[in-house]
Symmetry: C2
Subunit: 369 residues, 2 copies
């Protein structure tokens, strides 16, 4: 049985941020909480967005950390209650957007965030949450359009909550906001965007509209990621990478695979998610190739790749100056069995196109080291 | 600026109808009004669907006409009020689905249906309407996933209301329900499905996810329409044609073009919509070709067509035994100037890829005669 679902309204183009005030009106928000991070504040994007929100005056929380955590969530819930907030504006990369989802959830639900973890079956109990407008400033995670929220608990463990009710009502995707993104982040988030289209396309779920979007998203990312990385002011490249990121986000409903299943436990060691994906994806594809050779061929043909996908990906990661080995990030062989075990338990293992065990994950992780 | 939006939840596959009872529960519907037509009742599909609704007992209205009208709407509103209904199940082709949308609208809004006509700016005043579950029994209109509702007013004129609030909350797309569709309806609705992907793909609106879906939907329809028409029991063909129909419906948000702009006024003469589209589309494509040759080439290449699109389409219409001329339907030259004028005024003229006037429509209509 196929479940096919798209929910968000997306305003997309250079200058789309000017619609923020009107979109706040359309959602009827009076006291929005704007969640962002120190980098977005420092580079002037926050100011630009607050200007676009006028006459609305959002309350601002700008202390989101990379791999956002429960401490930030609790600080935000205090602000939410104090100011009687009624909705959220998530501004930034995946971190503020995930933090926003967790606030939207916990401002409207009882208990602790961990109660809604997908691993313990808690995500299915998520009902209607507070309305959110997501404004991505990086072209990568697709979090702005997705239903998943990844947070680091006080225990240090990752909590993944997944429910359609957490999807942002409105996305304002303005490539202008990505022009100042540094080359390394452009590369790392871009690889993440590309990987969503690839892993979703290869996932066995039946969803032809998502497959069509994924194929197009992969081709787009493959054609523009180098240009966006080499020249951050290439507006055309920024437009296409932001579109590829949205397309990658739209197809997450098909489920991802082995690369993301490994990236979740590895992310607990404070590595950038996209950087991890760049290292892991080529090896995950090589492992999956025997089971989905036709689909991989479709991707290769559509993008006009001259090499096998996994080789092409490794070269791409090298060309855009991302680390190509887990050891470059300080990872060591002794941690591999535990990471492999955790990857096997991850819900994304179920949508990997080839059956995969902890043993297989160990082999892949060793190759990635 | 690009607005990109997908709203419905779609349950798709053979046997999906078994989910009806649960989907009614999920929407919290207690007293649904089921809207269908005499053909669906006679062939046993209604009984099958009522079985799937149990323990729910929908109130049934089965008198929907082809090109549904205001009289049916008023009858349904009486039933709605009498039974204190709280939602709709639309079962059938485009007619019951459009009638359902008009009931969902008028059960929750003041005034007359004509007040919400897109031509007079009324559609923008449409707010939240009653919840609907759409169950298509033909693979064609895409009405089950679309935001438009086309009704014949008491005056004889068509009223087109268009608003995202009218999109069905849930679509249950079960190809099983299309197995008994006669060859001529399979052909005519199939051409309509195919045409949505083609006209949306050629529309100048910027929406890459919709373009990707449209390209895939066109290829799918082009590969399976003959098989579905020649052997109604070809389950694989039925699956693909229902998917192509949904894909065509998903991309309607890009806007359609000249073929549909002409089909609206011609439809007032009680012709089947898909039959009209089969006649008009090849000529509309030929007219548009100089402006969108690249896009037409993409469609041709993706589907592996050996002829120019317009020639291929004319042959296809002939091969599936549909009329190829308006005169086959009894239309005459004297009516052309009025139809052309009305087509020029249609809102879809704005999303045709080449500027087009009443004069141009006259030329196309004469060629189609």
């Amino acid at each position: 049985m196929s479940l096919i679902q798209y929910l968000s309204k997306i305003q997309f183009d250079f200058g789309a941020i000017k619609l923020l005030s009107n979109e706040l009106n359309l959602l009827g928000l009076k006291r929005p909480l704007l969640v962002t991070d120190p980098g977005i504040e420092a580079c002037g994007i926050l100011e630009h967005v607050l200007e676009a929100a006028k006459p609305h005056l959002p309350i601002v929380y700008s202390k989101t950390t990379e791999n956002p955590n429960e401490k930030s969530l609790n600080e935000c819930l205090e602000i939410w209650n104090k100011h009687n907030c009624d909705g959220l504006i998530a501004l930034g990369g995946g971190s503020p957007i995930d933090l926003s989802k967790s606030i939207a959830l916990m401002a409207t639900h009882d208990g602790k965030l961990a109660d809604y973890n997908i691993k313990t079956g808690g995500s299915s109990r998520i009902g209607r949450v507070a309305p959110q407008i997501a404004i991505p400033t990086a072209a990568g995670t697709g979090a702005e359009i997705g239903r998943a929220c990844v947070m680091t608990l006080d225990s240090g463990r990752k909590c993944v909550a997944v429910n359609l009710n957490m999807v942002a009502k409105t996305v304002i995707a303005d490539p202008e906001l990505t022009l100042s993104l540094p080359a390394q982040l452009t590369a790392a988030t871009g690889i993440d965007a590309l990987s969503h289209s690839v892993e979703a396309y290869l996932s066995p779920s039946v969803n032809p509209p998502a497959d069509a979007i994924a194929l197009d998203g992969f081709v787009r990312a493959s054609q523009w990621i180098k240009k966006a990385t080499q020249n951050g002011n290439d507006r055309e490249a920024r437009w296409h990478m932001m579109m590829a990121s949205l397309q990658g986000g739209m197809v997450l409903q098909k489920g991802l695979g082995a690369a993301h299943a490994m990236a979740t436990p590895l992310g607990e060691n404070h590595h950038h998610h996209g950087t991890l994906i760049g290292i892991l994806l080529p090896h995950a594809i090589a492992f999956n190739a025997p089971s989905v050779s036709n689909k991989i061929e479709n991707l290769q043909n559509a993008a006009g790749l001259k090499k096998p996908m996994s080789d092409w990906l490794q070269k791409l990661v090298h060309d855009i100056n991302l680390p190509s080995r887990l050891s470059d990030l300080g990872e060591t062989a002794d941690k591999i069995p535990e990471i492999a075990k955790r990857a096997e338990e991850d819900h994304l293992t179920l949508t990997n196109p080839r059956a995969i065990t902890a043993k297989d994950y160990e082999t892949i992780l060793k190759k990635s080291l």
